[in-house]
């Protein structure tokens, strides 16, 4: 290949790349003119779905903070809908657990997040679904959440388990109360585990 052809090619290429990437940015506030307006409830869930996919791929503090922030927003939005609100609470508990344990979180946690999201999406977007059907799905998710919690307890090292707490069977508790209780227990478990980790870190630093 002759030098002239090479030079012309490089020149054309540089010009093309400069043109392509140097355009002025459009205003961030204005959506593209041809973009259809997103439905009110669809857009926040869409964002939540993207965040959940991102969590499944890579667990980072930023992604989990975004996730919990989005859930807080949705919980406010769906404050009067107990089913949706409970599902969002479940997701938040699971999210907080993942944020604490990151890649060491129980391997079923992400699957559980996806499953709860799937029910949430169905409950929000499917207008044909009855209230009763939604509640049944939600209660099943609560049961699965309790099952995961039991698994986490079972796999926790002895020195970080609370020991004195007697596991409560899911069937012994009513729906919403069981969720609230489960969330509290999960919080307590995470706090005790964090405390144990801090102690271990302190000892390591002393050494």
């Amino acid at each position: 290949m002759d030098k002239k052809a090479n030079d012309t090619f490089a020149f054309d290429l540089e010009n093309r790349l400069d043109d392509f990437f140097s355009d002025a940015l459009p205003s961030q506030d204005e959506p593209p003119a041809d973009a259809p307006p997103a439905p009110k409830t669809d857009l926040p869930l869409k964002e939540l779905k993207s965040t959940i996919l991102a969590i499944d791929w890579e667990i980072t503090d930023d992604i989990l903070d975004t996730f919990i922030g989005q859930l807080d927003g949705l919980m406010e939005q769906f404050e009067d809908d107990k089913v949706i609100h409970t599902l969002l609470k479940l997701l938040k508990s699971l999210g907080k657990y993942v944020r604490t344990h990151k890649s060491k979180a129980h391997p079923d946690t992400i699957k559980r997040i996806m499953a709860v999201y799937s029910v949430l999406e169905e409950s929000v977007t499917n207008d044909d679904m009855s209230r009763n059907e939604k509640e049944k799905l939600m209660l099943e998710e609560v049961r699965q959440f309790q099952r995961l919690k039991a698994l986490i307890f079972a796999s926790s090292p002895p020195h970080v388990s609370s020991g004195s707490q007697k596991p409560i069977k899911p069937e012994e508790m009513p729906g919403i109360d069981a969720v609230v209780s489960a969330i509290d227990e999960l919080k307590s478990m995470m706090a005790s585990e964090l405390s144990a980790i801090r102690e271990e870190l302190g000892q390591l630093l002393k050494k």
């Binding site: 540089e14 392509f20 499944d56 791929w57």
Partner: protein
């Protein structure tokens, strides 16, 4: 290997962003997408299927326009950085024309960078590609963390760790702020296009 259709005068170039997990590969692609979204027809896509055959990556295709009479279509990919997703990384590297290696500048990620580069070399070897022969650009990402008091590796150390033998072009960057993201991708595209120019001229 770039797909070149001499009849339709079309070239398809595949660039893959690789690097350690949580290093900023997706942030790079998101920034690029934010800069060019107003002028491209395509969207940034994340592909995922569940189950054993997991395939999950970001994909940003766009048409660069005509160069020497060829319509150049560019495809940017990122691959997951976590160790457990090596099968996906290997798969996405199939047919790669150029690489952007996004290294994490944080001090405690030094080993992760080296491991990820070795992993890239091994995966390319699977396709009979020598990393030294492939268009490659290094990006030393997260330089902005220094302003927050987080210890980062100096550029000389990163060059010595990663680029001592490859001698590839390199950029310091902050993908989060967009610093040097566009120069990195421009360099990667131009280096790749120059590598395939013999087939176009």
């Amino acid at each position: 290997m770039a797909f070149i259709n001499t009849k339709t005068k079309e070239v398809q170039v595949k660039l893959v962003f690789v690097g350690p997990g949580r290093g900023g590969k997706t942030t790079n692609l998101e920034y690029i997408f934010s800069r060019i979204r107003h002028r491209i027809e395509s969207d940034m896509v994340s592909i995922k299927t569940q189950g054993d055959r997991t395939l999950f990556f970001d994909f940003l295709p766009f048409e660069l326009g005509a160069i020497k009479g060829y319509n150049v279509k560019t495809q940017l990919y990122t691959v997951p950085g976590q160790v457990k997703y090596n099968a996906t990384r290997k798969l996405v590297l199939k047919g790669v024309d150029g690489i952007v290696f996004v290294a994490d500048s944080m001090v405690d990620r030094r080993e992760n960078n080296i491991t990820a580069l070795n992993n890239l070399s091994e995966n390319l070897h699977f396709y009979d590609i020598d990393i030294a022969e492939l268009p490659l650009v290094f990006q030393y990402n997260k330089r902005d963390l220094a302003t927050e008091g987080i210890p980062i590796l100096d550029v000389e150390t990163m060059e010595k760790d990663l680029n001592a033998t490859l001698k590839a072009p390199s950029f310091t960057a902050s993908a989060l702020k967009g610093d040097n993201v566009i120069p990195t991708v421009k360099k990667a595209i131009s280096t790749t296009m120059v590598a395939i120019r013999e087939k176009l001229l």
